[in-house]
Symmetry: none
Subunit: 245 residues, 4 copies
């Protein structure tokens, strides 16, 4: 049972009994993935999906209840892939930082490998609160971010990750830049060095996640105290001089 199915997304019209049938479903899902990615939900047409497979539109509709359902399956499957890959490869025994790095790197890699187009679909369609589609996706979103949340929580407990900021915000701190980087790359048609970018991102993000250096902040506070003392001393000296004149 896939994640999509667990999330309660409606699936198909016919029971995909035969092996041939399952093959067809796969083909349609792939074509759907391509077309939805390239055009976005609204501008994608069932006609084009069928045409790419050289089959008739009617056939598509005999495997999926409709355009919306097909799109839901496409997005659901994409989530499944990522979630499975992350869950499978996550070094649960590694350090918090190692696990964090793995998640970020893996995400970036999977998103790019799948083509940023698909990512764009998920982002802009999955997020648009418009259609009913989004309801079913909320659960997927949860599962999708679950590994990161777990690691962050673990880090907060162990003191490796700052706890003075809500987890929800930290999650935005991690996913936000990743998505933004991908948008950027997609929109400007820029090829990015996936691993180098991942390393930089991990580095910068980690700096944001770790607790502010206590020693450093204490030092800063002390430094300010000294500066203040120095200023007061100068003022006092000046005042005394005036009085003596």
């Amino acid at each position: 049972m896939t994640v999509a199915e667990k999330a309660g997304l409606p699936v198909s019209r016919r029971k995909p009994a035969g092996r041939k049938s399952q093959q067809r479903v796969k083909e349609i899902l792939q074509a759907g993935r391509d077309v939805f990615s390239e055009r976005g939900y609204e501008r994608a047409t069932t006609a084009e999906i069928a045409q790419r497979l050289g089959i008739s539109e009617a056939t598509v509709f005999s495997y999926f209840r409709g355009k919306r359902e097909l799109c839901a399956r496409v997005i659901g499957d994409w989530y499944d892939e990522i979630i499975d890959a992350i869950e499978a490869g996550l070094p649960r025994d590694g350090s918090v930082r190692q696990q964090f790095a793995f998640i970020v790197r893996m995400h970036l890699r999977l998103m790019l490998v799948n083509g940023t187009d698909l990512c764009a679909l998920v982002l802009s369609e999955g997020r648009a609160r418009h259609h009913e589609l989004s309801e079913a996706l909320t659960e997927l979103q949860r599962r999708y971010t679950a590994p990161l949340m777990r690691v962050l929580a673990q880090g907060q407990q162990s003191g490796e990750i700052r706890a003075d900021v809500p987890l929800r915000l930290l999650r935005s701190m991690v996913f936000g830049p990743m998505e933004h980087v991908l948008w950027d790359a997609t929109l400007t048609n820029r090829q990015i060095d996936i691993d180098a970018t991942a390393d930089q991102l991990i580095d910068v993000l980690w700096a944001a996640l770790t607790p502010p250096d206590l020693a450093l902040s204490a030092l800063q506070r002390f430094r300010m105290d000294v500066a203040e003392a120095s200023r007061r001393f100068d003022e006092a000296s000046a005042a005394r001089r005036e009085k003596n004149d």
Copy 2:
């Protein structure tokens, strides 16, 4: 002259000479803002926009050349508002961190005040590279991110912001989380304490932007300050002694 006009977007079919006419334009822009936000570009209909104002569709088309242009104006105006507000209020004489904080806080505030729906529109439509709309928006995007880029570059030169990471990535580090936070708030229908969130975000982001070895440089500066204070203290002591002699 608005940013939209500068960007060369076609504007209206009818000359908005009269005061009444200008009022209508405003009304339609407002209704358009609402509908486009709520539904997204494709699912928004000119019929609904007209209906909300209690006017006929034809009237909408007599003020705007078409749906696309209306949407462009809606988005363009939104950009204008934000760009103008940032440019006007930016404390150019303040420290890098002050300017940075202003930009982040202002962005969040404006995005939320305008309704995250609109923000969603700009994000998902302005970014979908499908339609021609996006062409006209590239310049707006540039102007929109210009203040932040300026401040970041300034900070890199002064050593306050890490220079070992491309500006482009740092930009994603800043805008990404902001947008993600807003998505989050919108999708989960959660009210967020705007100023508290801004403060937290600024704090966390700044940690990411700061050069990793800032602790050392801070210590060095502190030593110099102490040495200076010590020198002034000695001078003062010497001076007083002379006077007493």
Copy 3:
């Protein structure tokens, strides 16, 4: 009273009392002539007509009951001009051939001077049996072709023009080529030497109109008789030879 008025075309909404008013009417008719010519009836818009004059559409409608009426006036006025020019200049005392030549030359000249565009309008719109407009134009057509018909009839009586063909057909023989030449010039964007073309056309047309040379046709018939006799002689010779063999 113009020809158009005589033909019963509806004219204007308001009484054009003042001199200023009459000036307006003229301006609108001129702009209408331009736009209808350039675009054809259906593709012409009242908006463009008004715009070219820098006035509002509403003003056009306060001088003319509607688009159809305006177009009818434009076409009617064009007919008036041509009819008047022909009737005024026709050398009624000249020979049939002189009058014929005058009519053809004048027509070509007026059509081209007015721009073939206008001619195209009259031809394709005036002729389209579609709209009610055409009804009113039938009478104009009659008056328009009247001078030629008169001359042709006169020629038939005097024996200068062949009478073995209906007048109606001869009329088509004259107007058909003229219009075709103009279409041709317009469509291929070819400048034509108006007077040279007129001379050639008159020459060729006259050859078609004059009675078939009786002497010549008698000659031809005689020639055929001789040829036939010759053939029969050859056959007879051949037959005789075979018999003798």
Copy 4:
């Protein structure tokens, strides 16, 4: 391959594979022919075309990319019919006059058989240089007039057709009256005796095309024929005499 296809006109959205499909295409083309003829391009509506067939508008659009293309096909097919009929029946071995007569007669007949309405469409729409439609028709026009041009050129070389006038003008001399006659018949709703009219037209036109000095050359040829006959008679007489000797 039809002329329309050769001209590169886009054809249909759906592949007309099945027999039923081809039937539908024919039906729509026929209905289109009717409606476009009756109303002209602009006033014809896809709604009416569909309605006459008792099908939905959407069906029309699933066989033709749009109104423009449908009209192009209608006109293109009409040209095809005429061109094919002329090319197929043209007596290439006949005299110039025979070929000329065939072309004129055939044209008139086909134009009338197809209904002068259609002819009106082609004339007024195909010629209106407004829309893009006309571009595709230029080539058809060329092919359409090609046979006549060939015959005229041939006649000019053999001296049977006057060469002191440009071919282009002679072409107008031929097509102009034909079209005018048809207009006339259509507008006045007059039934015309097609063959009688054709004969008259051919007769009159031929008089216009013949070199003005044909009487002289006919006479010369007659003299030569007589001389030849005389010579053969002498020979025959001589031969008989020899035999009798």
